[in-house]
């Protein structure tokens, strides 16, 4: 080697050792044995397919232009709700539609869409006759029976004022926002209903994102907060003013009162996105978790006196495992290790871990993302929708993450990050660890799209969970599992009498096959979405649940003994099991059908 080259190389060595890290990038924090590229998994009985068009769901989500020049184009729209609006026993599907900057300015934004579940596996678009006719830049949705009249209502968030639709019970909805006093303000995102004071009426939490004027949004690359990895992108949320979340108290007469200030909610005006309610500390009162973008997440513990305390940082659920702020999006509560306490899954941005906060049962959480095998696998993905669900009915909750970048510009760079991404389904290995199923689990999980909302339901009442996923500027996906295994399951529909009609907040323990599972009825969650309120429990090989124990928000408790698998049980507060209906195509392993047991008054 020449002397000059030696000189030059020495210089390079010095330079390199001194500034090794790539300026804008940090690597995975170092913690997991798994590969970023999922291992090829042998074909199993679990195969997933996409069926939306086949079953009659024809809808394209409008959300800004293709280049996503402004933050509202990348984050907005995509909320999904499963609700049985016509009480025919089959969950219907509601999609929130967004807009474009031009359409929003001209008042020509498209309508949101409601699809009626025909009960035969198909859907019919009933939007036009539904009375759901507000247009604007729609974002998220939550569904619940806020007026306890027996029919689920809808709350839809928008940029510039939200809408409460009351279900009239005749297939139509009425915009009652003004009378209810629940219009909100600013840029509404995720929402959730829950009876926070256990008075039998559902209160409402609305996460607000940023306070911006669409007409005054900065151009890509025009300021330091308008770049990502040095690439010019839309501006924000950093550098923008956070919107303050809203807490509404239900006054019982069809109206709400904004109690945000006195309740002590979101004084920091974080960038709120996903919201979910659950009793995190098991004190009998619903708490609130808010996934905030680029700021600490909030865990509001319910003090029981109308006030809340954000214990996010102290609880360990506000930051990453190492105390870093993350870009939180979708969130869900669920007991993934069957210890009777609600854990948390949360989606975050790319170049970062997604969170799996394990509830330590002492008021604190530990982020187990790496230990669980999620950390490395999810590193490059941008996760919006996030749900716990038991897709294989084995009694252990799995995790589904709906992914999609916010910056189409990423496709111009071979970083490994792409704008369209596939979704990730993590199978629970029952030891605190998860395995990502990958593309081998069927074409439904191999799709690469820019996903946002995610909501789950057993829409065909066959005992297996399906999931709806919204995609930016594209049709939604309705994913179902085929070639199912033989595991059993039950669906539980709760009807409150003293408690709120939906039983939201009710704690349910299902004892079956030597396993004790726990869940709560909840509205809202994931990314701007709302799952079917019926609780789904996989029972494995068990032909029945030894016990189904319900603890209602009113404090009343009841137990259904020997609840047979393979159908939908209705449990009414104070009355026990009041109805049972077998699944449409439920796998039968028990000798006696559920119907025969109900007829004989067992259970």
């Amino acid at each position: 080697m020449s002397r000059l080259r030696l000189l030059a190389v020495c210089f390079v060595l010095g330079l390199t050792a001194g500034s090794l890290a790539v300026a804008w990038q940090r690597p995975a924090a170092g913690n997991a044995p798994e590969q970023a590229t999922p291992r090829s998994r042998p074909a199993t009985t679990d195969q997933f397919i996409e069926v939306s068009r086949k079953v009659g769901i024809n809808f394209t989500l409008t959300s800004g232009g293709p280049n996503k020049r402004y933050i509202i184009e990348a984050k907005g729209g995509g909320g999904i709700a499963w609700l049985d609006y016509d009480n025919n026993g089959y969950p219907d599907l509601f999609f929130v539609n967004g807009s474009t900057v031009e359409d929003w300015r001209h008042g020509t934004s498209p309508r949101s869409r409601l699809f009626r579940n025909n009960g035969d596996g198909t859907f019919t678009d009933v939007s036009a006759a539904s009375g759901i006719d507000h247009t604007g830049w729609g974002m998220g949705v939550c569904s619940a029976d806020y007026d306890n009249d027996g029919t689920p209502d809808l709350y839809v968030t928008y940029y510039g004022g939200n809408v409460l639709y009351r279900n009239l019970g005749d297939g139509k909805f009425q915009d009652v926002t003004k009378r209810a006093g629940a219009a909100g303000h600013g840029w509404g995102m995720g929402c959730a209903f829950g009876d926070l004071d256990n008075d039998g009426f559902l209160d409402l939490y609305v996460a607000n994102y940023v306070d911006v004027d669409i007409d005054k949004l900065g151009e890509p690359g025009s300021a330091p907060n308008c770049t990502y990895r040095g690439i010019a992108t839309f501006c924000g949320p950093r550098g923008l003013t956070g919107g303050r979340d809203i807490l509404y108290h239900n006054n019982r007469g069809g109206t709400f009162t904004d109690v945000t200030e006195q309740a002590g909610i979101d004084a920091g005006r974080y960038f709120g996105l996903g919201v979910v309610m659950g009793d995190a500390n098991r004190d009998g009162r619903l708490d609130i978790f808010v996934a905030n973008d680029s700021t600490p997440s909030a865990l509001y513990l319910n003090n029981g006196d109308g006030t809340f305390t954000d214990v996010g940082p102290q609880s360990g659920a506000a930051y990453s495992a190492e105390g870093q702020e993350q870009a939180g999006m979708g969130v869900d509560f669920g007991d993934y290790d069957n210890d009777g306490w609600l854990d948390i899954v949360k989606g975050n941005f790319s170049d970062d871990t997604k969170n799996l906060y394990h509830n330590n049962q002492d008021g604190t959480f530990t982020d187990q993302t790496y230990f669980a095998g999620i950390g490395g696998t999810g590193w490059l993905f941008t996760t919006f929708g996030a749900d716990f669900l038991d897709y294989d009915n084995d009694g252990w909750k799995d995790i589904l993450l709906a992914n999609g970048q916010t910056f189409p510009q990423m496709d111009q760079y071979p970083t490994g990050i792409t704008y369209a991404e596939r979704n990730l389904l993590f199978h629970n290995l029952r030891n605190g660890k998860f395995e990502e199923l990958g593309r081998s689990a069927g074409p439904g999980l191999a799709l690469k799209k820019v996903s946002r909302g995610l909501a789950t339901a057993d829409y065909d009442n066959d005992g297996g969970i399906e999931f709806a996923i919204s995609n930016m500027n594209a049709a939604p996906d309705l994913i179902r599992r085929v070639r199912k295994g033989r595991n059993q399951s039950i669906l539980l529909k709760l009807i409150g009498t003293k408690s709120n009609r939906d039983g939201i907040g009710a704690k349910v323990r299902v004892v079956a096959g030597g396993l004790v599972q726990f869940d709560e009825v909840r509205s809202g969650g994931s990314y701007l979405s709302s799952n079917d309120l019926r609780l789904h429990f996989g029972l494995g090989a068990a032909a029945s649940a030894d016990r189904v124990e319900v603890e209602w928000p009113s404090g009343e408790k009841e137990t259904v003994q020997n609840a047979p698998a393979g159908g939908i049980l209705t449990i009414t507060e104070g009355k026990g099991m009041t109805a049972a209906k077998p699944f449409r195509k439920a796998p039968q392993t028990g000798k006696r059908s559920m119907k025969s047991k109900v007829m004989k008054g067992e259970g």
Binding site: S2, R3, L4, R5, L7, A8, F11, V12, L13, L15, A17, L20, V22, A23, W24, Q25, R26, P27, A28, A29, G30, N31, A32, P33, Q35, A36, P224, N225, Y228, R229, G230, P237, R238, G239, S294, P296, P313, Q314, G316, Y319, E322, G323, Q324, E325, Q326, A327, N348, F349, S350, D351, D352, Y370, F371, G375, T377, L380, Y413, P414, T415, G416
Partner: protein, 301 residues
């Protein structure tokens, strides 16, 4: 032999330029840069079409920190000898030193086109690509560099870092271990490999790596913090407090150490201390928010 003289340079070289180049090279090596520059300028005046002398002048200027003039000289050398990879390589070094990664990549691409087996150029090209969000081509270049020169210093490290930035931790760990084997006095791979071992629950291996890192660089924050995390994982809380305090002493705004300290105090039942540290975490985040570029995941590290 003083400097590489490519065939084209040789064709353009005028009588006596090699001797002048030898002389200038000796001055540069002796650190007599001003003298070297003066001599090189004279030589270039005398032999204006000598690519070698322009390169030598460029090298002296570069060493002196006069990048702009060095760049001009290297460009002139390339004009005179466009197929001499050394000139492109040297110009790439100037561009890299100023984080002009696109320009550097262009020159390094010329080097590897002219000299496909130049492992060092491939390593630097990989770095330039990685700094331009071109991680996948970067990985390809690192792999090619290693195929040519399996023990090329830093190549395993950079490949490991690229893998780690993809979330591919097991491959990253393997590369860090190879770098340590080839280059045992280089600190960085110890800290990164230690972090991965810690995450896998291999506390003994993690501790060993962090301690070796600290031996090499006693004030290295990352290794000190890693060691504190090992102690935390072993539930040796009082020792962890001491280790975390040491990290904070070295880097008072180390938010992760404050957070870990807060949670450790919490476990020790020291509520006031925990509250103080949680407040510090919040303050540090608020302070850094201004400096960040928009999304938490893009935080410069």
């Amino acid at each position: 032999m003083l400097a590489t003289i490519g065939p084209d340079a040789r064709a353009f070289a005028q009588s006596g330029d090699n001797a002048r180049a030898e002389e200038i090279g000796s001055l540069v090596e002796a650190g007599r840069l001003e003298e070297a520059i003066r001599e090189a300028r004279r030589a270039v005046e005398q032999y204006p079409r000598s690519a070698t002398l322009h390169r030598m002048l460029g090298a002296a200027l570069f060493k002196k920190g006069m990048n702009s003039e060095a760049r001009q000289e290297f460009r002139r050398a390339i004009e005179l000898a466009p197929n001499d990879p050394q000139n492109h390589f040297n110009l790439a070094l100037v561009e890299l030193s100023e984080n002009q990664n696109a320009a550097a990549a262009q020159e390094l691409e010329a080097v590897v086109r002219l000299q496909p087996a130049n492992a060092q150029a491939r390593l630097l090209l990989g770095r330039a690509y990685h700094n331009q969000n071109r991680t996948l081509p970067a990985i390809e270049q690192f792999q090619k560099a290693l195929a040519i020169a399996p023990s090329l210093p830093l190549a395993h490290y950079h490949l490991g870092f690229a893998y780690q930035s993809q979330g591919n931790l097991s491959a990253a760990l393997q590369e860090y271990q190879l770098e340590i084997k080839a280059n045992p006095d280089f600190y960085e791979p110890y800290a990164h490999a230690g972090g991965i071992q810690l995450g896998q629950g291999n506390l003994g291996a993690a501790e060993e790596l962090f301690r070796k890192g600290i031996q090499l660089r006693p004030n290295a924050v990352q290794a000190q913090y890693g060691l504190a995390r090992v102690l935390l994982a072993r539930k040796d809380l009082s020792a962890a407090v001491g280790a975390l305090e040491r990290v904070i002493e070295l880097k008072p705004d180390h938010v992760e150490a404050h957070y870990a300290l807060a949670r450790t105090y919490q476990q020790l039942g020291k509520k006031d201390e925990a509250a103080r540290e949680f407040r510090m975490v919040s303050e540090l985040h608020a302070r850094s928010a201004q400096r960040r570029s928009g999304i938490a995941g893009s935080t410069p590290q």
